[in-house]
């Protein structure tokens, strides 16, 4: 089944707010071989002007996850997850994520394209903090392989 072209332009309801924990930031930093002091040590982060430990640049993927689940679970999407390959990924920040942030993410499908039997779905998750200020937008392109 091909990906439903009518997904293009669809915005899903915001997912419930994600509270960024200090230990989660540390865990993610270790898992990505970070040697950043700012990601581990709250004192170093404060000395650099941040409220708490600073999340690595790809941490927003953890928050994005729940929004992509909405897309994959949409009954009319036609996306077979076993055929999905991650095509590309981008993170555009207004400011770094720090522990204590409460992020609310809203997903919009910005593009659906067909290319030689495959479908490419581009989804954007816009994340704002508890004051409603923009923190980061993540953009993922998923390639859904067609039947061989």
């Amino acid at each position: 089944m091909p990906v439903n072209p009518e997904l293009q332009g669809r915005t899903f309801p915001p997912v419930s707010p994600y509270l960024v924990g200090r230990e989660k930031v540390r865990e993610f930093a270790r898992a990505t071989s970070s040697s950043s002091r700012l990601a581990i040590d709250p004192e170093a982060a404060r000395a650099a002007g941040y409220a708490d430990v600073v999340a690595p640049p790809t941490f927003a993927i953890v928050v994005q996850e729940a929004t992509l689940q909405q897309l994959l679970a949409a009954p009319d999407a036609g996306i077979d997850f076993s055929r999905v390959v991650h095509g590309d990924q981008r993170f555009s920040y207004t400011r770094p994520i720090v522990a204590g942030d409460e992020l609310t993410a809203t997903l919009t499908v910005s593009g659906v394209k067909s290319l030689g039997g495959h479908s490419m779905v581009t989804a954007e998750s816009v994340m704002v903090d508890s004051a409603g200020e923009h923190v980061v937008t993540t953009v993922s392109t998923l390639v859904v392989r067609g039947d061989e």
């Binding site: 270790r30 002091r37 640049p57 993927i61 981008r90």
Partner: protein, 143 residues
């Protein structure tokens, strides 16, 4: 920003060994529990050459030399941070159960805008001699 940065300059270079342990650890940290990242039988069943590193693990690891550079005294000035980071996943990283997989990261200055206080750092990320991330660009800001 200091004028020290020059296009083409290598600001960081580092090798990382990803093992199966790294994949399990990243699965837990990220919440991506797709079994192709830790089960040979599942990877084989879906036609993959072996257990693969998460693309996001490769992306997340590859930027760390830039983050370390920004915090080091080799940085043009303190306070630099990653404001934008993009990659294209061009080739899978197969992680051998015993030997793991070695990623080689080279970070070079691609563009400098001293007035805006920004620079673009281009990453070359290779595994077994082949590039695994395309258009891997890190935008760094000092404001």
């Amino acid at each position: 920003m200091s004028a020290a940065l020059e296009v083409g300059q290598v600001v960081a270079e580092q090798d990382f060994t990803l093992t199966r342990d790294s994949l399990v650890r990243y699965a837990g940290a990220s919440g991506d529990f797709n079994a192709i990242h830790y089960r040979d039988d599942v990877a084989e069943a879906v036609g993959l050459p072996g257990v693969l590193a998460h693309g996001m693990l490769t992306m997340g690891t590859a930027v760390q030399p830039v983050v370390s550079w920004l915090e080091s005294d080799r940085a043009p000035q303190p306070g630099g941070w990653v404001s934008d980071y993009q990659v294209r996943f061009t080739r899978p990283v197969v992680v051998d159960p015993e030997r793991g997989a070695v990623l080689t990261v080279v970070a070079r200055v691609g563009q400098v805008d001293p007035e805006a206080g920004t620079a673009r750092i281009d990453l070359t990320v290779t595994f077994e001699g082949a590039t695994v991330l395309g258009k891997a660009q890190v935008r760094v800001a000092w404001a």
